[in-house]
Amino acid sequence: MKKIFKAISSLALTAMLACSVIGAVGCGGSTTSDVDEEGNTVIKIAFHVDKESAEGKAYAKRISAFNTAYKDQKIKASASYIARSAGATDYETTLINQQNSNKLADIITFDAPNCASYAQSKLIYDISNIVPSSVKSDFITVNEYQGKLYGLPIQESSAGFFYNKALFAQAGIDASGYTAENPWTFAQFKEVCGKLKSAGITPVDMRMDATQDEMATYLLYPFIYAAGGSFVSEDGYTATGYFNSQESKKGFQFLKDLVTEGYTSYAIGATDFFTGSVGMYLSSGWTIPDIDSKYTSTFPDRNSWGLLPYPQDVQKASATGSWSYAITNNHHKDKSKIKELLLWMVTPESSKVITDATGMIPARRSVETNYEAGSPEDVLMKQLQSTGVQRPVTVGYPAFSSNFRSVIYGLGDNDLTTLLNARANDIQDRLDVLASRN
């Protein structure tokens, strides 16, 4: 009897141990308090960067300033930093896990192309009625889906053609007339490439090899818009007839011609432009500090290199896009105090602090930039304001992006029509599945 009692006691102990472990995991379902011990309403905000990075420190600085400014109103911001150790998917997975365990922050940062899918899935909140129109109109771009506002950009980016002035001079090219306001044409672009090639210089690194991640999509999609093409219908659910339209094909054909005519290739080394063997290099603003600091033997000063805008065909188009803020559809139903933090994080002052840390372009027009006229930063800023076009807004963005990259990857060796039709059908299959969920 005594032994049986002991056995039952031991079993009970085991059960308690098991339950405590399972309980520790299972307790994730409860929500954390929205009010701290001092009676402050706590607004949680999640950032996609490491806290110790320059960008993370800039966010922390603005959060600290917010807490000081709103101390009397009993509103307190609490920031979490989710470093993207394995890319943007890693960050997204964390957000989804938080949503499933009812722990999603009140404000999140998100990569702009995800706006449609996040909005469609109600992960993020419609802020159309929260953001004053004067604020909204001050942004160069905003994140909208089906006519509603869902996100405000943290900062902006644009890309262009960095060029080696010495090599241009060697090829007898004067590029001074091509400005952000008056971009060059597809034909003029090819003409410049032709002159460089004739001078024995590899004309341009179009980053055709950057198809392992979003880079190729980000840098090359404007060519399709410039040729009059598009990728999906306005509602974002139809790709066939858009992705493979005649106009889109014309844009892709231009890129293909650059390969087949020997103006660019998939084999250009990552540093070939920086070591002085390639005339032009398509990249974003983040290349500016690299050229200034790392490649001084090829580019000793800013007179040795310049930045040219995207070429135009039937219309002007240039790359835009960065991360944005959004209010989430979490358990916190009263969004009035969350609004305060959102609007604080996008004030011109916040924008200045953050862009000073990242070197990117401010998302708001009213932010003073002090860019020298004609400087690379000035070219990017003006181009962004006058010709910036967002990547397609569609719930099937991941399918669009990977298929776009597949087209770029296969441009050199495949029949373009066949390639575009196959990729358009693949995107359409994905969009059909997503549409069936509505």
């Binding site: 049986i4 002991k6 141990l17 098991a18 399972i22 995991v25 198809t211 070939d272 991941p398």
Partner: protein, 325 residues
């Protein structure tokens, strides 16, 4: 809802564990074995933390995955998950029929397995035979051959991307350039890319199997070789009639582990080409479906099918290679 399911599954698994404990106690009492109930319960108590963690982190995900395979779970909308029966499986077979990406993933995975299993095992055995002697300096070779195993796959993939760079300055192209061969785009080549990934993987993984073979080789009695030598057997005959039979169980283990590892290849194509028809593999496609395209249900269905196929093949391998008693 998700937590309710977790709770039910966890409770069921825990109840199963408790049943095993109780059964063990009853059997022990009936058979009047030497160890008592207290020892038995203590043993299970000691095992409990590991068992519970295994249940949570191994069994639960498997059970979840099984369940998800029959749902339309979309990663961003877990609350709208619905039971859809065999629809995901039908879609998979339809996609194979239409020669969609899953078709390419299957073909590439087959190519990878067919290439990497014999190559990696052959390399491992060759290296093991080479370093399996008492000559001076073989320790250095062992370290060299094993080094790639401890290097992250991400780093080795990047290293090989540099070696195979299509640029004139790429290592392999530079060497080819000495012989007047124009630069080759090895990884974009639709026919050749998967075989480069096979080579990389075999190179990276063979050091580990080499150690296992070495362990097997050290267990073979030297007098067998001496006797064979006295009987006039040459080295090849000794290898064929002594080494190979003695390594049968080692072979079985290595073939199964290399086969299973090869069937799950994902990191190399992910890092070297991203999602491309000529290098996509089943595991990578499952990952893409689940995370990039957020179709968790569909991805889970693929995982279930793959588990069944792999299990069946492993059983066949075990039967064919099983050591005769």
């Amino acid at each position: 809802m998700l937590w309710l399911i977790t709770g039910i599954v966890a409770a069921a698994l825990f109840a199963a564990l408790m049943a095993v404990v109780i059964k063990d106690i009853v059997v022990a009492k009936k058979k009047k074995v030497r160890y008592g109930v207290r020892e038995s319960v203590s043993a299970y108590l000691l095992l409990a933390p590991a068992t519970i963690l295994a249940l949570i982190f191994v069994m639960l995900p498997i059970v979840y995955s099984l369940g998800y395979a029959f749902t339309d779970y979309y990663l961003l909308e877990p609350d709208y998950m619905q039971f859809i029966g065999f629809e995901n499986f039908i879609k998979i077979f339809e996609s194979i029929g239409k020669q969609g990406m899953i078709y390419h993933a299957i073909i590439n995975t087959l190519k990878f397995v067919v290439g990497v299993v014999p190559l990696q095992i052959g390399l491992a055995l060759g290296l093991a035979l080479f370093v399996n002697n008492k000559r001076k300096g073989t320790g250095i070779f062992k370290v060299c051959y094993f080094a790639p195993v401890v290097i992250s796959l991400t780093i080795t993939a990047q290293l090989w991307l540099q070696i195979l760079s299509p640029s004139e300055t790429g290592l392999l192209n530079s060497i080819l350039g000495w012989f007047g061969v124009p630069p080759q785009d090895f990884i974009r080549n639709e026919e050749g890319a998967i075989w480069w990934i096979v080579l990389l993987s075999a190179w990276q993984g063979c050091g580990y199997q080499m150690l296992i073979f070495l362990s097997g080789l050290s267990n073979i009695r030297q007098d067998l070789y001496e006797a064979a030598s006295l009987d006039g057997a040459n080295k090849w005959q000794q290898f064929l009639h002594i080494t190979v039979p003695a390594l049968r169980s080692t072979f079985l283990f290595i073939v199964i582990t290399v086969f299973v590892g090869a069937s799950r290849v994902m990191v190399q194509p992910m890092l070297m080409t991203d999602e491309k028809p000529h290098t996509i593999t089943i595991s990578y496609w499952m990952y893409l479906e689940g995370y990039r395209y957020r179709e968790v249900g569909y991805s889970a269905a693929m995982a279930l099918l793959m588990t069944i196929v792999m299990g069946a093949i492993t059983l066949v391998q075990r039967t064919v290679l099983r050591e005769k008693d």
